[in-house]
């Protein structure tokens, strides 16, 4: 009986306690991750709010957690600057922890770029945000092609992609990838850059007056910095268009090690004949690759291993097979680079960057077969370089940069001809003889510069000095070995003064030298006694920033060039050339604002040359008086984007020789004339672009239409010379209207 009462009491107690417990609402944990829709990149710092009450912020990995949330239905809101607000309902069930992933869209009409400030800034540099510029019309999504529309850059004939900067020859502007010089930024025809722009973090272009860290060029400097591969999951893309196809894969290997691999291959050779009716057809093919490893062994060290390369093959073929004219022309140009970059950040803010690299290039490799005449030219370059820089913040008002820029090149060189036995070809007296040797161009340049920040940071002055030792050698095993050494000193000075919040003035000047290329030192086509060319840059400019997203820049420049390498009657080449360039440029640039970005660039200049002192000046081969580019792109809702680019460029100089009929030979001949005594008609072209991006939870799909030369303007690129005057008035026009459709899938 007692036992039964005790059991009843216990049951009552349990019933009461249980009832009490049932009155407390049941809770379960609720956690999750917020990621960007389409890219699956975790988003830190956004607010996750339950039922309009208090929220929690996502951590660095985009994660959030509510330890106890009452069972039942709840309203969840995700809010964050730069992100489209997202709301959803969740139902939490008793005893079940809920783990979710939310995908939110970026508010594309605004953009917040968080990027570490460049350690060294040039006074005149233009830095471009790759994400912003990849939608520029006419570039087919290749961000690096946008350099061609910046002020100071002339337009290369046929849009070949050569960088002609401030009246300098195309080879005078140097291009660096992660601090290592590469011979070409663009594939054949400027159709595509040789480095995948999806792997590029930033692009910086300095047309002149740059500091002591760079040298060996009379023109400008293009710096391409690759980005760190993503380490927040595996990502990549596959893109296909009329020109080529490319892909990229990247992701983490360990917590401190990430990788990226990219490749591209063209198929433009299949489509090009559709646009060129000539019997002679170009058949260009190109490919490139990049493989990158980034390791962060400590919080103070970054180590990068980058292997990349590019190959361009061009065949000149006849559409109509003709056994009597077995013309063949084949060129192959390529480069490969391997670089290791180690950067260490000391506790006091000092940084050390150490970049050894090696490469193997073929700047020119040509095999020609014109009827019975065979021609072979092959040049290669074995490059071994080292770039090191130590940047020391000595005081708040003083930073000291010192470094070494070493470039060594060994250039095997082979030139041969094969003529039919019955053809008499003079090889003496200015002709070209077969040749073969290895030429060496080695340069070591220690440099130092100090940056003074004075007057409450309003005035910045950077004096610098670069000492350059050149060593040229060749024909060690031949009859005429040579070995020449030259020391040159290059003082540089840059200054910038911020007058008020909106306006700053700036100036730069410096001395620059450029060594001859290897073939210019050969006995057969060059002169082994050539010395480095010299240029003096003088720059003065004004920066105006009327709004936080608008930048206006006006610059005047003058370049004095001496010792330029020019053709010479008896020794092939000599250093007697002179050049002068003067002009001004204007840039009005709108960074992304309410979905709009773009710029207007205008350059007016005059570039002149003369081959020998005392001769009359003539305009430079690529002198273009007016260069105007206007481009704009606008982001519309629902993933649409439209853009347009218009360019107007003064026609390139050309030489119109008077014809006469030579009665002694029965042929028309052209009498000598003043060099570049005429100009081609001006170049003008409108390009437009439409983009549509479909964003899914885990991936994005984009389609674009890029139409070049919308109104099909026949832009004369050169004059086709014939054998009599009535046939000569036929300018060769550039590409007609060219619509390019492309698709890209990205995850």
């Amino acid at each position: 009986m007692v036992a039964a009462v005790q059991r009843l009491a216990c049951a009552l107690v349990l019933l009461v306690v249980g009832a009490a417990a049932a009155q407390e609402p049941a809770t379960v944990p609720f956690a999750g991750t917020v990621k960007e829709k389409g890219t699956r990149v975790p988003i830190p710092g956004v607010d996750v709010v339950l039922d309009g009450g208090d929220g929690v912020l996502t951590d660095a990995d985009g994660k959030f957690a509510f330890p106890r949330v009452a069972v039942g239905k709840h309203k969840v809101s995700v809010r964050g600057a730069g992100w489209v607000p997202a709301d959803t309902d969740e139902e939490l069930k008793p005893g079940k922890r809920l783990e979710v992933t939310y995908y939110v869209m970026p508010a594309q009409r605004y953009k917040t770029v968080v990027r570490s400030e460049r350690l060294v800034k040039q006074t005149l540099e233009q830095s471009l945000d790759v994400d912003e510029i990849k939608h520029i019309p006419g570039t087919q999504g290749d961000a690096l092609k946008s350099v061609q529309t910046l002020p100071g850059v002339a337009r290369a004939p046929f849009g070949l992609g050569q960088l002609i900067v401030w009246g300098s020859a195309p080879g005078d502007t140097r291009t660096y990838v992660d601090g290592v010089a590469v011979p070409a930024l663009y594939h054949f025809g400027g159709l595509r850059s040789t480095v995948n722009s999806n792997l590029v973090d930033s692009l910086t272009f300095t047309p002149g007056g740059y500091n002591a860290e760079f040298g060996r060029g009379l023109g400008g400097v293009v710096e391409v910095d690759t980005r760190r591969p993503k380490d927040n999951g595996y990502h990549g893309y596959l893109a296909l268009d009329l020109l080529d196809g490319s892909l990229l894969v990247e992701g983490p290997i360990t917590k401190t090690l990430s990788f990226a691999v990219a490749a591209r291959r063209s198929w433009i050779d299949v489509f090009l004949p559709l646009f060129t009716p000539n019997d002679l057809q170009l058949s260009p093919r190109y490919w490139d690759y990049q493989a990158e490893l980034r390791w962060r062994p400590t919080s103070r060290d970054d180590i990068e291993l980058l292997v990349f390369g590019s190959d361009d093959t061009v065949d000149l073929l006849q559409k109509t097979p003709n056994p009597d004219l077995a013309n063949q022309f084949h060129t192959d140009m390529y480069f490969h680079r391997l670089l290791v970059r180690w950067m260490h950040r000391f506790e006091n803010g000092t940084t050390l960057t150490f970049t050894p690299s090696a490469g193997y290039d073929s700047p020119v490799q040509v095999d020609g077969n014109f009827g019975a005449v065979k021609f072979h030219l092959s040049t290669h370059t074995i490059a071994y370089n080292l770039r090191a820089a130590l940047r020391i913040p000595v005081e708040k008002w003083l930073r000291l940069d010192v470094g070494l820029d070493f470039e060594g090149n060994a250039d095997p060189f082979d030139l041969s001809f094969e003529f039919p036995a019955n053809l008499r070809v003079p090889l003496a007296g200015g002709g070209i003889a077969p040749d073969g040797t290895t030429l060496f161009i080695v340069g070591a340049a220690p440099w130092a510069q100090a940056t003074f920040t004075l007057l409450d940071k309003r005035l910045t002055i950077t004096p610098g000095i670069r000492a350059q030792l050149y060593h040229f050698a060749g024909y060690y095993t031949g009859d005429h070995p040579f070995q020449n050494e030259y020391w040159v000193f290059e003082p540089r000075l840059q200054a910038r003064y911020q007058i008020n919040k909106y306006v700053a003035v700036k100036a730069a000047l410096g001395v620059y030298h450029q060594p001859p290329d290897a073939q210019s030192l050969s006995h057969s086509v060059g002169n082994s006694n050539l010395v480095p060319e010299t240029a003096f840059h003088y720059v003065l400019g004004v920066d105006v920033d009327p709004t936080p997203t608008t930048h206006v820049e006006v610059v005047g420049f003058y370049k004095d060039m001496r010792g330029l390498i020019v053709n010479a009657p008896t020794v092939h080449l000599d250093n007697e050339g002179e050049g002068r360039v003067y002009g001004g440029e204007l840039l009005v640039r709108q960074h992304l604002w309410r979905g709009l970005f773009g710029w207007l660039s205008y350059t007016i200049s005059r570039a002149e040359r003369r081959d020998h002192t005392g001769e009359d000046w003539h305009v430079f081969q690529f002198d273009q008086t007016h260069i105007l580019s206007v481009l704009a792109s606008y982001q519309l809702p629902r993933g649409f984007q439209v853009g347009a680019r218009f360019r107007y460029v003064t026609g390139n100089p050309t030489t119109m020789n008077p014809w006469y009929w030579d009665a002694n030979s029965g042929n028309y001949q052209m009498a000598p004339a003043v060099l570049y005594n005429a100009r081609l008609d001006a170049f003008q072209q409108l390009d437009i672009r439409f983009d549509k991006t479909f964003t899914y939870r885990w991936w994005k799909f984009s389609i674009y239409l890029d139409v070049q030369n919308v109104y099909n303007h026949a832009n004369p690129e050169a004059v086709q010379f014939a054998s009599r005057p009535e046939d000569v008035q036929k300018p060769i026009a550039g590409l007609p209207i060219l619509p390019v459709v492309g698709v890209q899938g990205e995850f």
């Binding site: 700047p363 014809w659 029965g666």
Partner: protein, 273 residues
């Protein structure tokens, strides 16, 4: 020299983007000077009489005016063959000594100024005779370099007597043409200077034939009587007129030239029915 910077633009230029293919130079389709013949084909150091004749064809049959002049400018170091101003200067310019007008002209030349003249590969020096040929809006400057007789036997113009064929003219069917020469302009020899041996040497002239027509194509633009410089040895040539050639006359010219300014022209007309 930036060789790799030259290769790609050259390729682009070679291939062109929409430049047209030009007609063969043998096709005479506009006002053309076919030959300039001087009799004799050289002038004495003291000057003298020369008969000049310009062989001109105009498909539009317009009146053709020919104005002759002697260019008195000496070549400069950069242009040893001809002073470019002899071409550029307007007709009647100060450096052009007027000789007279007309397709044929008997001229008396003054003693040539030979200072500064550089011998060519035959060891000869020349004075430039200019013919301004005009028909309607079209204008051609023709330059005939008249040899100055220095020593040795005089040069003669070749005598082009006939052109034989291996069949009858018929559109669409190739025929082989063979020119024939007669003395005294055949097999002439002259003395020149051998740069290799640094000694005088005697050379026999090579006769070159230019082939021109108002229709059709030739296998070779030029033939000669040497067996070294063309792929088909000998002076003969093959002419093919398109099978769809519209009816009407087709003009054919053969111009023979020696190496010293001697010139002869033979013309014929075939009828396409």
């Amino acid at each position: 020299m930036r060789m790799h910077q030259i290769i790609l633009p050259s390729l682009a230029l070679l291939a062109g983007c929409n430049g047209g293919d030009f007609p063969p130079v043998s096709l005479v389709h506009s006002l053309s000077v076919l030959a300039v013949v001087a009799e004799p084909p050289e002038v004495a150091m003291a000057g003298g009489d020369v008969a000049l004749r310009a062989e001109v064809y105009d498909p539009m049959a317009r009146p053709v005016a020919v104005k002759w002049s002697l260019c008195t400018l000496a070549p400069d170091a950069r242009n040893p063959g001809l002073n470019p101003d002899c071409v550029v200067e307007a007709p009647g310019g100060a450096d052009l000594l007027a000789l007279g007008d007309g397709a044929s002209l008997a001229a008396t030349l003054p003693a040539p100024r030979i200072a500064g003249l550089v011998p060519d590969g035959t060891g000869g020096i020349y004075v430039p005779v200019r013919a301004d040929v005009t028909a309607g809006e079209d204008h051609i400057v023709a330059i005939y370099r008249l040899r100055v007789h220095l020593f040795g036997p005089p040069n003669h113009n070749p005598q082009l007597v006939t052109v034989t064929s291996d069949g009858s003219f018929q559109p669409g069917v190739p025929i082989e043409l063979r020119p024939a020469l007669a003395p005294p302009g055949v097999g002439e020899s002259y003395v020149t200077f051998d740069i290799g041996t640094q000694m005088p040497k005697t050379v026999t002239e090579t006769i070159t034939y230019s082939w021109l027509a108002t229709a059709g194509t030739f296998h070779d633009q030029r033939t000669d009587d040497s067996d070294e410089t063309t792929d088909v040895p000998g002076p003969q040539n093959t002419w093919t007129v398109d099978a769809n050639q519209p009816p009407g006359p087709v003009h054919l010219w053969v111009v023979a030239r020696d190496e010293r300014g001697g010139t002869a022209l033979l013309s014929t007309v075939e009828e396409v029915r």
